[in-house]
């Protein structure tokens, strides 16, 4: 449930209304970023940030380190597997 797609914020289109443009594999769409702005963080800081988009709202920031860690875990598994075989 709840289709969510990762995309990268490429510009801020409306400071006041918290609207930014997200790029998803070359496709752009304006989304609301209210839920991913940090307190006292200038909205411009969001440019470059990866977010998870659901129904026109950015709902979470993607954590690159965690993603890398998850994948590293898998390749560790893989090496472990290989060492077994």
């Amino acid at each position: 449930m709840c289709l969510g797609v990762p995309g990268q914020i490429v510009s801020i289109s409306d400071h006041k209304s918290h609207l930014a443009v997200v790029d998803i594999s070359g496709v752009k769409r304006e989304v609301n970023v209210s839920c991913v702005i940090g307190e006292r963080e200038p909205i411009m800081e969001l440019i470059g940030v990866w977010v998870l988009v659901h129904v026109g709202f950015a709902m979470s920031r993607l954590d690159e380190n965690e993603a890398r860690r998850t994948l590293a875990l898998l390749s560790d598994l893989g090496e472990f597997q290989e060492s077994l075989s």
Partner: protein, 340 residues
């Protein structure tokens, strides 16, 4: 004053005549003749030079928006009908053009559409020889609809049929899938997507001629328009009563088309194409056909996507990236954007 279409342009009087003289006669070869007569006349010996069977096909074009990245309704109307002739193995020769125009349409818009029909027809050496124009009150059609009906001739050696897919035959597509559908979805204002996706609108006539030169015995061929590749594969599997295997990995999808699909929850296999064909060819000829296709710009991205594995049943089975299988059905309704 900006010139616009009024009901008078469809009333059979002077306004209509001057529209025809202003827009259509300069554009379409042969229409000059058709303006004078109620029907185009084509000497049968000109047809007989090309083969022994007449191919005859019709399509209406109601695309919204009428201009989109990579094309417009005019180009689509010409290429779409050319392709329906070409995939039957016919040399496309003549075409009719019937327009339904909405009152209020700027004549300049009509002119642009007509120009692009001319360009497409000239490129494919097809003559638009007869036409019709109707005007409906504002709000009773959306800007303009075009019907093109095409005539071509099939060479006596060619026997393309939806029923000829045989065990072992190889399934080829001439490039990435879903471009047209994704371009239209992105060009629609309601979803507010911005993408640089170009429709793949193109004539497949030359490509098909090249393919037939190296393999006159192509078994099945169809352009993958509405319903996408999934629809065509299912239609051919049904008609030939066979089972096809398709390899998910091998199906080319361009990154931004994937982007649109991820955002909206679409499957590119069900998106329309306007310059893509599925060819089913004998295994022995597959390599040759593929090579020939790749020489032509319209076939540069050609790849094998699967094979006919069984002469029974009527199913399209896809091997997923994980080595599992799933059945590819036809679409049930339209594809609607999903939230879940």
């Amino acid at each position: 004053m900006k010139e616009i279409i009024t009901l008078a342009h469809g009333a059979g009087g002077k306004a209509m005549e001057s529209l025809i003289q202003q827009v259509f006669v300069p554009a379409f070869h042969g229409v000059e003749h058709a303006v004078l007569e109620d029907q185009a006349r084509i000497p049968m010996r000109l047809l007989a030079e090309h083969g022994d069977r007449l191919a005859f096909t019709t399509d209406s074009y109601v695309v919204d928006p009428i201009f989109f990245p990579g094309g417009d309704i005019g180009m689509l109307a010409v290429n779409g009908t050319i392709n329906d002739l070409a995939v039957g193995g016919a040399m496309p020769l003549y075409m009719s053009c019937a327009m339904v125009l909405e009152e209020g349409l700027p004549i300049e818009i009509l002119q642009r559409v007509v120009n692009s029909m001319v360009e497409a027809a000239n490129a494919a050496q097809v003559s638009i020889v007869t036409g019709d124009t109707k005007v409906v009150p504002r709000g009773q059609c959306d800007k303009l609809y075009i019907n093109t009906t095409g005539i071509g001739v099939i060479n006596s050696g060619v026997q393309i049929s939806s029923q000829r897919a045989c065990k072992g035959d190889v399934i080829i597509v001439n490039g990435s899938v879903g471009d047209h559908g994704a371009a239209i979805v992105s060009a629609r204002t309601d979803l507010k997507l911005e993408a640089s996706i170009q429709s793949d609108t193109q004539s497949l006539s030359e490509l098909v001629q090249i393919m037939l030169r190296v393999c006159p015995d192509i078994h099945c061929m169809r352009d993958a328009t509405r319903g996408g590749v999934a629809a065509v594969l299912n239609e051919l599997a049904d008609a030939s009563r066979c089972t096809m295997y398709v390899d998910e990995k091998s199906i080319p999808v361009s990154p931004d088309v994937r982007g649109v699909c991820e955002i909206l929850g679409f499957d590119p296999l069900y998106l329309a194409n306007e310059g893509k064909l599925i060819a089913i060819v004998p295994e022995s000829a597959a390599e040759l056909v593929l090579c020939a296709m790749r020489q032509h710009p319209s076939g540069a991205g050609s790849v094998v996507i699967g094979q006919v594995v069984d002469q029974q049943g009527s199913a399209v089975v896809m091997e997923t990236q994980f080595g599992a299988k799933r059945v590819i059905n036809r679409l049930v309704g339209e594809q609607l954007p999903r939230i879940c």
